[in-house]
């Protein structure tokens, strides 16, 4: 899977979780950029991303991920 493909899939996940078809994410996107992205939705996002890519994040990763780019790094390292 290429980095672009991961982003395409991630956009779908974000659109579902935040129920907004307009959302597109990039390397620098953080919780500050998406209005409903609070700590409770973060859980849903993590679970949905895990489901989509068939991976599991570990605790350290969930705690230290700074932006979507770092999330993509982790996903690619598992694939």
């Amino acid at each position: 899977m290429t980095r672009e493909e991961v982003f395409e899939n991630l956009n779908e996940v974000f659109q579902d979780v935040f129920d907004d078809d307009e959302i597109t994410v990039n390397e620098q996107t953080t919780a500050n950029d998406i209005e409903d992205w609070d700590s409770l939705e973060h859980i849903n996002l993590v679970v949905a991303v895990e489901q989509k890519f068939g991976i599991k994040f570990n605790m350290g990763e969930v705690n230290t991920m700074k932006n979507v780019g770092e999330m993509v790094d982790i996903i690619l390292s598992r694939k």
């Binding site: 979780v17 935040f18 129920d19 409770l40 859980i43 849903n44 679970v47 949905a48 489901q51 605790m59």
Partner: protein
């Protein structure tokens, strides 16, 4: 909505929950609104959001109170203005083994472990007692799931120091409370977590990351169970099965293969599975679920299958058997009509997806689960919680007999040309009295189940029934009807409250299975007698239309009331002036008051 029936895709529900909610709100109408307080011992946010979806799917629109993180105890026990103003209809105490304060240690002796157990139980009984006193509404309480590790291994189960042993004893104490208190229901997360897989369910990742005491992916299974308890409390259970025969109750096609060649019975494995499924279906009769057949077959062939020597189900186990070549949706609605039930209260079991499709397309809100392969039938039906039991009255257990008796009455009726003669021949006796404790459960259940013969569609919990029973300002009546074929049990309920010499009828309901038997007139007679004893001069009736109660739109006119009010929605109000010389309206039932 198919996506919210078992077997469902939990990750789909989790990720699309916002979209699902929108669709449900658009597609459905006639919601009943309920206020639900969730008192949590860990994070409950998603539990609430997913519970909302399942409830909307059941026609219940919830509004939530959610306690702050792990404030279940404080919210319940200490003064709580917000919750008091919320006035919950249901309280769900979501606690798990993460909320157990102290476990035994190996050096504890038996007495101190007993004491520990007692302390833990007292914490919870204190919560339940205060909630009941303050809010007088049903409480749903989780039991405890098993611990996710066992330091003694298998001995953890039997040794009093073991966590497994301690949790099991706590659960037993919870059940004792449930057995002796009404309006108190256990949400069995011990079973649900075992069914899901305890290892996955209690993955500590979710607790330490997000303070969820269960795997987030398991939440739809939990919320579904809670929704099932709630819809059962509010009378939205299903009432019966409509079953296909070929490849559903036995293997093979009886018309082609002949009765000797259908697959059923102990001789080989596939036959055993069908036998087990038949036993599963038959067990439902004990909780009042009624069984019917809807099969594309010649009638004689269908009956011969039920007379197969290895059949667990007999012709007599069914109320209505439709075996013909009509479309299945037609048979299905005919069965519902015969039973005086709405189609949506029956579950359609058929191995053929095309038949399931035509029935669910033609008849709104009928459930027809995807039952899969024969060895999965039980699992796929059972986990849907169609018949979730919250109260089980004596009448429930006898329901099949009652429908059988009704069939006999129908036969008798056909032999009379004059309906009055028929009613006389039934030799009916009525018992119409003020509420009594032994009938509280049945009365509450009737108020929640009756949709058609129901003037105001007001729902009552057992506690509310008890309160009206004990209040002098209320006139309460229950009516039982007995005839030569059997006892119909409590079939009608009237609740009125008295203000200034006027009796306002809050509720008037009757079970449709005693329609056209003069019971509604017998109830009116006793109501009038009761009012006369109180010195009441007027009775005021109210009718609020719903999608289902059109049959009683003119009920008060029939009873001699005058309409005094009608609004644009069709809500009406009626007055009856009690005459000096009241003449009884019922002519066929001998009533004991």
């Amino acid at each position: 909505m198919k996506e919210l029936e078992y077997p469902f895709d939990a990750s789909y529900i989790l990720s699309k929950k916002k979209k699902i909610k929108k669709v449900l709100l658009e597609e459905k109408n006639n919601f009943i609104e309920k206020k639900i307080a969730i008192l949590g011992g860990s994070t409950t946010s998603n539990i609430k959001l997913i519970l909302e979806l399942f409830l909307l799917n059941y026609g219940i629109k919830p509004c939530f109170y959610e306690s702050e993180y792990n404030q279940y105890y404080e919210d319940a026990v200490f003064p709580n203005k917000e919750l008091e103003e919320f006035v919950p209809d249901i309280i769900y105490v979501y606690t798990t083994n993460r909320n157990i304060t102290n476990y035994p240690v190996m050096s504890d002796d038996e007495d101190s472990i007993d004491k520990l157990l007692k302390q833990e139980i007292e914490k919870f009984t204190n919560i339940w007692t205060i909630l009941t006193e303050k809010y007088a509404c049903p409480i749903i309480q989780n039991n405890f799931e098993m611990p996710f590790y066992r330091i003694m291994g298998n001995k953890d189960a039997s040794d009093i120091h073991g966590k497994v042993n301690f949790v099991s004893r706590l659960n037993m104490e919870f059940y004792k409370y449930a057995q002796t208190h009404k309006d108190f229901y256990i949400c069995d997360i011990n079973w649900i977590s075992a069914d899901y897989g305890l290892k996955e369910w209690s993955d500590p990742f979710y607790y330490h990351m997000y303070k969820y005491a269960l795997n987030v992916n398991a939440i739809p299974y939990l919320s579904f169970n809670v929704a099932n308890i709630i819809k059962s409390i509010f009378g939205k259970n299903k009432k019966g099965f409509v079953l296909d025969l070929d490849n559903t109750l036995w293997g093979g096609v009886i018309g082609d293969d002949g009765v000797d060649n259908i697959i059923l019975g102990p001789e080989e494995s596939e036959g055993q599975v069908y036998s087990e499924f038949q036993r599963y279906i038959k067990e439902h009769k004990q909780i009042g679920v009624i069984l019917n057949v809807n099969s594309k077959n010649d009638y004689e062939n269908a009956i011969s299958g039920l007379k197969h020597p290895d059949s667990e189900l007999f012709v007599d186990d069914f109320i209505s058997i439709k075996a013909n070549w009509d479309p299945k949706d037609k048979n299905f609605s005919d069965i519902a009509n015969e039973l005086n039930l709405l189609p949506e209260s029956l579950v359609f079991i058929d191995d053929n997806p095309a038949e399931r499709h035509i029935v669910t397309e033609q008849l709104k809100d009928v459930s027809a689960p995807e039952i899969g392969e024969v060895q999965n039938y039980i699992q796929n039906i059972d986990r849907n919680g169609y018949f979730e039991v919250t109260t089980l009255s004596k009448d429930d257990m006898k329901r099949n007999e009652m429908y059988k008796e009704n069939a006999k009455r129908a036969q008798l009726q056909a032999s009379f040309s004059n309906y009055g003669e028929y009613l006389k021949s039934l030799e009916m006796k009525g018992i119409i009295k003020s509420f009594e404790s032994i009938y509280i459960a049945r009365i509450a259940q009737l108020t929640n189940k009756s949709n058609q013969f129901n003037l105001t569609t007001k729902r009552y919990t057992p506690s509310a029934i008890e309160a009206s029973m004990n209040d002098d300002n209320y006139i309460t009546l229950y009516g039982k009807l007995i005839d030569k074929f059997g006892d119909n049990g409590v079939v009608s309920v009237v609740i009125g409250h008295v203000i200034d010499d006027i009796c306002h009828i809050d509720l008037w309901i009757m079970s449709c299975r005693v329609l056209k038997r003069d019971m509604e007139f017998a109830m009116m007679d006793t109501l009038v007698h009761r009012c006369q004893n109180y010195g009441i001069k007027q009775i005021k009736g109210y009718y609020y239309p719903t999608a289902k109660n059109n049959m009683v739109r003119q009920f008060y006119a029939l009873q001699g009331f005058n309409k005094i009010f009608e609004d644009e929605k069709g809500n009406t109000e009626w007055i009856y002036n009690i005459p000096e010389e009241y003449k009884n309206k019922n002519k066929f039932i001998i009533v004991e008051e």
